[in-house]
Subunit: 357 residues, 2 copies
């Protein structure tokens, strides 16, 4: 295993120590339980946003904490859900009196633990709502998930909802906005290579030298199809058309109903993309691909969107939701409107994303 | 070869097409000869900064073009020097009447071609000065270089000199500043894995599963020593101490003397680091290492600098001068003073680096 690490069991702890030393003006780190939080938290009167999940997807989520994005992030061990006590303690640290929104990627462990944490926080008198991100069009269920997985749209939701929180949206309005981003965003990824979880010490899966995996998950979960290597243009077409031609998608998710004080089933339907839509195009590096390759994917994506009548009005290109050193990419398209555009353009200052500050 | 590309010979062209489509507000791209330039070039009355070199080191240099950094960048094919006509045409496009500064990494091909380009530009009436970056402490000469190679300090010089140009420094003062950054910056890199140049189709060098290369160049040139894998802390110590304990370094470089109208030999001496110095610490991802690993390197670097009496006053962590998908890292330390600090903090808006805008 070739990695710039010391003991595999210390990877996350030492990463967090490094972040705390490097960026004291942006984040602080609490250890045991582990969470990253805004250096100026709690921000009085602002709804606090918290996300989290397994480590290994950096900069998501700890690198997305700061002005205009998250107030707190709970990192689990690599590819392992964080625990409810991390989420509870993070909420207690960052809530500024206006409630807490949990942004949760749809993985079984994350969902279960954030639900427990929300209940515990409520029992301690903190208003909490929780919104699920399930934007991966690749597979309906997977080894790690009931329903679609939460991937690239999470980064976009954290940016947009973070800007809205900064602007003064209340908790209910932020939850509605986060749900809106989720249903309007769709993603699909692919892997040229596997990645190696430090504690495992060997590649998560085997991928022969002449094969790739289309629709792979961010933990290396199997995707739609394993096939022989294709060109960047062919790969982009497969990913983009899977997203653009994905029909309306209905599912039932559990959300916390504040008035009833309980978790209720909510049916959501993702509207399909249609000609004339304005979109944000996000080309994500899975981590290990050379930076020179991403614009080649974007170039073809731009052409496909044009052909399909989708107008790219904003973009994001780079490693934002990674899978350790996996080579490959994912594409996310998010249908935009004036509200989302204004929030996307708002200032942000985090470790992994900054502009306007 | 596993890459997100189409034909190997089209990699750079298609990358540039992608950049042009994605970032029209920041850069424009001229094809044949190829160069990237500021969308608002020429900026009247400002000295124009131009750099360049082989592709495969993204975001350097095309991704460092924009307000507060470069005015133009000339990309060669992957790991191949750009040609004098690229450098000449870029100069003609971006010069705003106050002269052009070429920032040149010390590789034989780059040096020769920038020298020819400077002579051609001068014969067309453009004032040009040219400063060499040679900050790699690993080896004195290498397969690609007479003298030390130019690496991480280049990124820092482009940021700092770019800010000074924006502020109105004249050509001579910018050349002096760039030379000052060069002699106060030192770097050293290491590789866990090789990388594959698309046109070659196979790894540049072989590195067994249990070995790494200390002092590697950004094109995979041999470094100081090949050895068995070490921990992140041990690696950091080797790189950092090589830099910090590097004695004064004297060499003669060729610079253009405007008054004499010819290239003259200039002797430069890098002052060694000493306790009490303020430094910028730059931990660079060679491209393919997982993002979670870099803060682990920074953590140890911070400890070593403290022990040595060096105060880290700024930092930069991430993939800025890459070697395609090579796994590994490099460390650069730059001795800072009030002038450099103010320029470092100044606004910048490029594809690869942005803050304050």
């Amino acid at each position: 295993m070739k990695k710039l690490i010391n003991k595999p069991e210390d990877v996350v702890k030492e990463e967090l120590e490094g972040l705390a030393l490097a960026y004291p003006d942006i984040v602080k780190v609490h250890f045991d339980p582990d969470y990253v939080y805004r250096a100026d938290a709690p921000v009085k009167g602002k709804v606090a946003l918290i996300s989290g999940g397994g480590s290994g997807h950096e900069p998501m989520h700890g690198g997305l904490v700061g002005l205009g994005m998250l107030d707190g992030a709970c990192p689990g061990q690599v590819f392992t859900s964080p625990t409810p006590d991390q989420m509870l303690e993070a909420a207690k640290m960052v809530h500024g009196g206006a409630g807490v929104l949990y942004i949760v990627k749809n993985y079984t462990g994350d969902v279960m633990n954030f639900e427990m944490a929300a209940d515990m926080a409520r029992s301690e008198g903190i208003r909490v709502l929780s919104i699920l991100i399930d934007d991966d069009t690749a597979v309906k269920d997977s080894t790690w998930t009931a329903g679609r997985r939460g991937v690239g749209t999470t980064v976009l939701a954290e940016k947009i909802v973070g800007a809205a929180a900064e602007k003064g949206y209340d908790l209910k309005k932020l939850a509605d906005l986060c749900r809106k981003v989720n249903i309007n965003g769709r993603s699909m990824g692919m892997a040229l290579t596997s990645c190696t979880v430090p504690m495992a010490g060997k590649p998560t899966f085997d991928l022969p030298e002449d094969e790739m995996e289309i629709g792979v998950g961010i933990h290396g979960e199997p995707g739609r199809e394993r096939m022989s290597l294709k060109t960047a243009d062919e790969i982009t077409e497969m990913l983009a058309l899977s997203i653009i031609d994905d029909p309306a998608y209905s599912r039932t998710v559990r959300e916390l109903d504040e008035e009833k004080g309980e978790w209720v089933d909510v049916t959501l339907e993702d509207p399909p993309f249609k000609a004339g839509d304005q979109v944000l195009a996000f080309v994500n590096n899975m981590g290990g691909s050379a930076a020179v390759e991403l614009p080649i994917i974007y170039r073809k994506l731009h052409e496909i969107c044009e052909k399909k009548g989708l107008k790219i009005v904003r973009n994001l290109i780079g490693p934002y939701i990674t899978s350790l050193e996996m080579q490959g990419c994912s594409i996310t398209l998010l249908k935009m409107d004036d509200e989302l555009l204004e929030l996307w353009d708002a200032p942000v200052k985090t470790i992994g994303m900054r502009w306007g500050i």
